[in-house]
Structure formats: C-alpha cells, structure tokens
Symmetry: C2
Subunit: 204 residues, 2 copies
C-alpha cells in the first residue's frame, strides 16, 4: 500500500510530521525467501528519493556478486551522470572489506565482521548515509562476532535521520525489540524442497 493510516495516535509529544519522518530501524528475518530482496527493493525507493545508500554485505563468499549489486551500481552511475536519484556504495565482506588494505584470510571471518560493524558504527556517527542495508548482519550477531548490546546501543542512539535495514535469519531478540519494523518471511513452499537448485536471476 502506498499510504496508510496509523491504527493509534500516540501521546508522545511529537507532531505528525516529526513522527512521520522518524528514522526507522527495520528487520527482515525468517526462513522464507525475500529478505535481502526486500531490503534491496527498499534501496530502490531510497535511491529515487535521492538518499545516500550504503549496502554492507556480511557474507563470507567473496565470489558472490549478486544482480542487485550491478543494478544498484548502474543506478549510482545514473546519479553521477544525470543527477537523478542518489549515490550508492556497495561493500561486501568477502575476504576483507573494500576499504581495508588487509587482504584478509578466509579463516578470519569473525575479525572481518567486527571490522565491518566498526565501520558502520563510524559512519552512523558521521551521518554518512541516509539508508544502510546491513545484509545478513543477523549472523555475525548470532555467532557472537559482534556484540549485540553494542549494536543495539549504536543503532538506538544514532544521530540525525538515518534509516537502517538488517536482514538475515535468527534475528537476536534484542535487535527485534529495538526495531521499528519487523517482518518475518515464512517459507510456505520453496523450489529447493522439490529438488530444484537455485537459479540465476532468482537466487542471485
């Protein structure tokens, strides 16, 4: 739905305008398909608003270049050439982050994840972006590679007007508690259950 009416009007001392423009922490979780896809779809909307978008993919596979990266980088090109939309940065962990000089060892995912989160935290403090997509960030939290209390505090206290969307299964209860919007993607049926492998354009 394009627009909606709130079901209650809270007594929080904010005007409707202030409340409307409150920056959001969003979590897409669950076992179903569509979590990352929905987050990248949200980036499309933000791009159209001229937002400064940054994607951080907390995934281990360095080989993984998904279609959304190419598409969003093409949109970043449209922004650079024609001044429409907003800029897009895409960072993926792989075997070391793009901003890092360290080549990174495949074995040291925990350190890489912690480094990625430290960078996100710095950027939040600097108000570098308008929308942060922290893709698959639930896993480094679940595995204890980053401290969930530190994550929640940094997100809760982030300055200015920065939207954050986190994707991944098994989102930590403290993260869900801090979120403004939580959608659980529930798998009802998936082609892999019927013996089908993932395919190009659908899974990546």
């Amino acid at each position: 739905m394009p627009k909606g009416q709130p079901t209650v009007v809270p007594d929080d001392g904010l005007t409707t305008r202030q409340r409307r423009h409150r920056p959001l922490l969003m979590v897409y979780t669950g076992d179903g398909k569509g979590k990352s896809t929905a987050a990248f779809g949200l980036a499309l909307r933000g791009w159209n608003q001229g937002w400064r978008i940054a994607v951080f993919q907390f995934v281990k596979s360095a080989k993984w270049r998904i279609g959304e990266q190419t598409a969003l980088e093409a949109l970043a090109g449209v922004h650079a050439e024609k001044g429409v939309g907003g800029p897009v940065e895409w960072h993926k962990m792989g075997s070391g982050w793009s901003w890092s000089r360290k080549a990174g060892t495949e074995a040291d995912h925990a350190a890489a994840a912690a480094e990625g989160w430290a960078e996100v935290k710095r950027r939040l403090a600097e108000q570098r972006h308008d929308l942060y997509v922290l893709d698959e960030f639930t896993y480094p939290i679940a595995w204890g590679w980053v401290d969930v209390d530190d994550v929640v505090a940094a997100l809760r206290d982030r300055p200015g007007h920065q939207h954050v969307v986190v994707t991944g299964r098994r989102a930590h209860p403290a993260l869900l508690e801090a979120a403004d919007l939580v959608t659980e993607m529930t798998k009802v049926r998936h082609p892999m259950d019927a013996g089908q492998k993932g395919q190009r354009g659908i899974e990546w």
Copy 2:
C-alpha cells in the same frame, strides 16, 4: 543465500540443468511489509541477467508512482543506452492501462483488472517477457474480478521459459497450490501500529 543444495532429488525424469532452469511461479503474500519490495528486488536480479521485465501494478490509485518505477525505468534507460541489463516495461492500472485508449472510469476497476489480466495472458502466450511482476494481483482474484481457474490454467500452461511473481495479501489457495515458491510475509511489528504514518522512501 546465493546458492543452495536441494533437500531432495526428485524422480521426475529431468536433468539437474532442466530442473534448475524451470520457469517459476512465485507468490509473496501475507500481512507483512516487503511483498512488493521483494518482487521489485527480484526484478533487479532479472535486469542484471538481461531479462525482459514487465511490471503490472493492479492497484487502483492512479496517483501512485512508487520509487521502484523511477528506478527500474532508469535501469531500462541504462539498457537502452549502454546495452547492459535488460528492458523494463512498467504498466499500472490506475484509471485505465497505458496500452488502452479508454480513459477508464474510476468506478470500473473490475473491468480494468480483467483487461489487465487479458493483456498479461496474451503476452504469456506470445512469450513477450522473461519476468512478469503481477503486483497486488491477489486482490482482483479475491474480489472475483478475474477468474482464478483461468489464472491458474494460463500460468500453469504458459509456454517457454517465463517467470511470474504475484504479490498481495490473501492469495487464493488455488494460486498457492500452483506456485513453485510461496513466501508469507508476517507482520511482527510495523511503525503504523505505533501511530506513525507511512513515509516517502519507505512506503512508496
């Protein structure tokens, strides 16, 4: 996840390659946020594969131009200018479809929805596109504006290799039964519950 292993290998006489490349009927349903966003995110992936994408928005509001439309049309422009990605067509019902000469009366949504579906059916028969996004198409089905048996038969018997994704709440059981992939987006928490109205870049 970029790639996955099937949980079972079916005895269906198909090779892995044939099975992998089987065209999919996907349904994103449920009350949670992220259904349309995930479908448009899938369009990003398809664009990157050079697929011919067509979006059909079965929504009543003619005013509604969402960010994804601008972004996907910008990607269509990148395709036209630079030959990367694929072409994208975006059709919305509003008060009459773009291909229709009829201005359409606001009162006649049922006829407009039926006309939209008839056009989708023609294009499926002609194999015009590689990915069809039938956004909010569950509603005209639920309201009886299009016949669900006709929809299921046309989708089931579609020729060639055409992917279809349908979004919207209250998906008809017959549609779910016919689908290869179904994800239910469950609302766990939504800002509107806390009295917040929808905001630009997030809701549209």
